[in-house]
Symmetry: C2
Subunit: 401 residues, 2 copies
């Protein structure tokens, strides 16, 4: 009899993106340039204010910080949220190791093993991972590519509610869809939460990335929602500081925060030095985001227009974050993504995409869809989209014929 692994250790999904990495490495070792549209790693420089604060740090000992995070950082976050219509105090914030841990804590504090979380699909794959950490069940409510992945109707959510349903989890602005929910859509979610006594865990890490003059609405800016709403947040995308692993949870539900604080104490504290850097990043002027937003809006246009050049592709203009899910005229996104890396190049380059099936919980959905992250500069992105269009054509002609 061999040693057994836990069922959860077996059932936790391997990253559908990261499993393609060896093929990308092979392509690079053959001399092929790989355009990484597969992962949300922005190329924007991390603000100088963050680097400077880190380099000026002159403590002799890199010591534990508080389990709920440095007070100065939490105070800075309060001022930041106030500018986004959310008024909270430092006690209503707990700093976490990335948005990842914010999501994990929110889920563990609201759900026991076997409890259920409703989530519009397609959704960020790692929600599945955190669910497996705690034996929580993700229950998908399917959104449609054809309408730009708007929030499914209230009735579609309601029919999935069971006595085990504890929370609704949503990403707004949306990874992987680029959807930005309207205030009316969020009011629907709030109504569901009150009617069925559910928490709303809102992943709002992309709030700065909203295009075409649309407006992002925080779940916490709605009335009569304080006991239900939890924000999972992160500086990763906002300040192009994914490697800092600094995030936070926000809630006005005191009991919930007390519970999350105990999970936080068990792991002692989030990283001290990168938290110090984050304090610096909070001081960047608004012009930083204006510049970033202009850049991303151009990129969004390049990608969206690039998709329109692919005959048979379906996609609505994404309004937020820096992702889009496109339905492509292909048979299988996983096979296509692998083929692009292993068998295709144009002008010495290929484009790496994220197969979208991994963003769906319902088997069979999203097989002809891919997610594109527009995190490269305009010139590279334009070429990446030409390469992708040529790849689709060649794939149809050789693999699908």
């Amino acid at each position: 009899m061999g040693l057994s692994l836990s069922r959860r250790g077996l059932s936790i999904p391997a990253s559908p993106i990261r499993k393609l990495v060896p093929f990308a490495d092979e392509a690079k070792s053959r001399g092929t340039k790989v355009y990484h549209l597969n992962i949300g790693q922005p190329d924007i420089a991390t603000p100088d204010e963050m680097w400077e604060r880190i380099k000026k740090y002159d403590e002799k000992v890199l010591a534990y910080g508080p389990s709920n995070g440095l007070l100065e950082f939490r105070q800075g976050l309060c001022r930041y949220y106030a500018r986004h219509g959310v008024n909270v105090s430092p006690a209503e914030i707990i700093v976490t190791t990335g948005g990842s841990e914010a999501l994990l804590f929110a889920m563990l504090a609201t759900c026991d093993a076997g409890d259920e979380v409703l989530v519009p699909e397609p959704f960020y794959t790692n929600y599945n991972g955190f669910a497996v950490y705690g034996d929580i069940k993700m229950v998908p409510v399917t959104a449609q590519a054809e309408d730009g992945f708007r929030l499914p109707d209230k009735a579609h959510f309601a029919e999935k509610v069971t006595p085990r349903t504890k929370a609704i989890l949503l990403s707004n602005p949306g990874n992987p869809t680029g959807v930005v929910y309207t205030r009316a859509e969020l009011v629907t979610v709030a109504e569901l939460a009150r009617e069925y006594n559910l928490y709303i865990i809102a992943d709002e890490v992309y709030r700065e990335f909203v295009y075409d003059g649309e407006r992002y609405t925080s779940i916490m800016s709605l009335p009569s929602i304080d006991q239900h709403a939890v924000i999972a947040d992160s500086i990763s995308k906002r300040f192009s500081a994914c490697g800092a692993r600094i995030g936070n949870v926000v809630s006005k539900n005191r009991q919930l925060m007390d519970s999350i604080m105990k999970f936080a104490q068990a792991r002692l504290c989030p990283p001290t030095l990168e938290q110090v850097g984050a304090i610096g990043a909070l001081s960047v002027p608004d012009s930083y985001f204006t510049g970033v937003l202009t850049e991303y809006q151009e990129r969004r246009d390049i990608v969206y227009n690039g998709i329109q050049q692919i005959k048979g592709a379906v996609c609505r203009p994404p309004k937020g974050a820096f992702y889009v899910i496109a339905k492509l005229p292909i048979d299988d996104g996983d096979a296509f993504a692998e083929w692009m890396l292993r068998s295709f190049s144009l002008d010495g380059a290929t484009t790496m995409v994220a197969p979208a099936a991994g963003f769906y919980a319902t088997p069979g959905l999203g097989r002809d869809e891919v997610r594109l992250a527009y995190v490269l500069n305009a010139t590279e992105l334009r070429h990446a989209m030409q390469v992708l269009a040529a790849g689709v054509k060649e794939y149809q002609a050789t693999v699908m014929r």
Copy 2:
């Protein structure tokens, strides 16, 4: 009907140490100096090599690193382990966010909800916390203050094994006891693991801190243990870098590491910049540890001798880590620790201790014990022990009379 919290969110223990913090803050605001013997935050300077590497870092973007950690860091760790008699390759290491996450991943990958882990008690409180994350049951096997908390007999472990037992978890050198297990004791653990098909999760973060010429033995240096053994490690204590949150797991069990890798992918990566610093720290010369060890050995002596001055105290000389558990002639460690902060001072100072009951899973055990962390310089520590001795006397005379 109100919103419910998860049972696990309610059952996760609040930190028995951190709940005393408000009383320490009050004491400080009254002008009383508080000697922190309650927490393992060393005062030793973090090595210059770590700070320099961080300050030299000149990437423009603080980007995601690999989920399993930077290759250069894992390669450095391999050379480090080789010097400690453990030969591993970079693929047998996954970098984690602190030793905390190393323990969490090891437990989640080996245990499902309801599974059991045997652990000598008293044990590091946060083991309980990570168990609650995953609904895992900690099953204590009690060690005795009178013999310096040596490993309980094989029969004591064997009688606690059930079909749900998946692993033995131990800390060596030991937090909170200061015990250093002999090779013979570890061979016993290895026999148990093979006989009952269990994993051994060995928390070896204090390997540098061993006194009196004793030898630390890694679980992974034993023969025929490769499929069973997992090391949970951290740079926090070794390089006095608790705030870096850089740890790692090590195992030669390929399936187990594949499973842990998926947990690691879900949370993307450990902190990038502090990992870069850790690469620098790995280059410190052996003389760094010689100096540190000399310092700690002196501190150990001061604390041990200080305890001997307290009439009725019971304690064997701790051989490792920087903790000792002392049985004191008091009625209740929690009440005593609080009283020291709220009602006692000598020469304007008081001593903060960690009540030991929180380190036991068996109700009622450890009530007259406290843990002392010897992480202050010799002068302060001497005074802290005088204050403690005077405090015990006064507590007996006023509270226990």
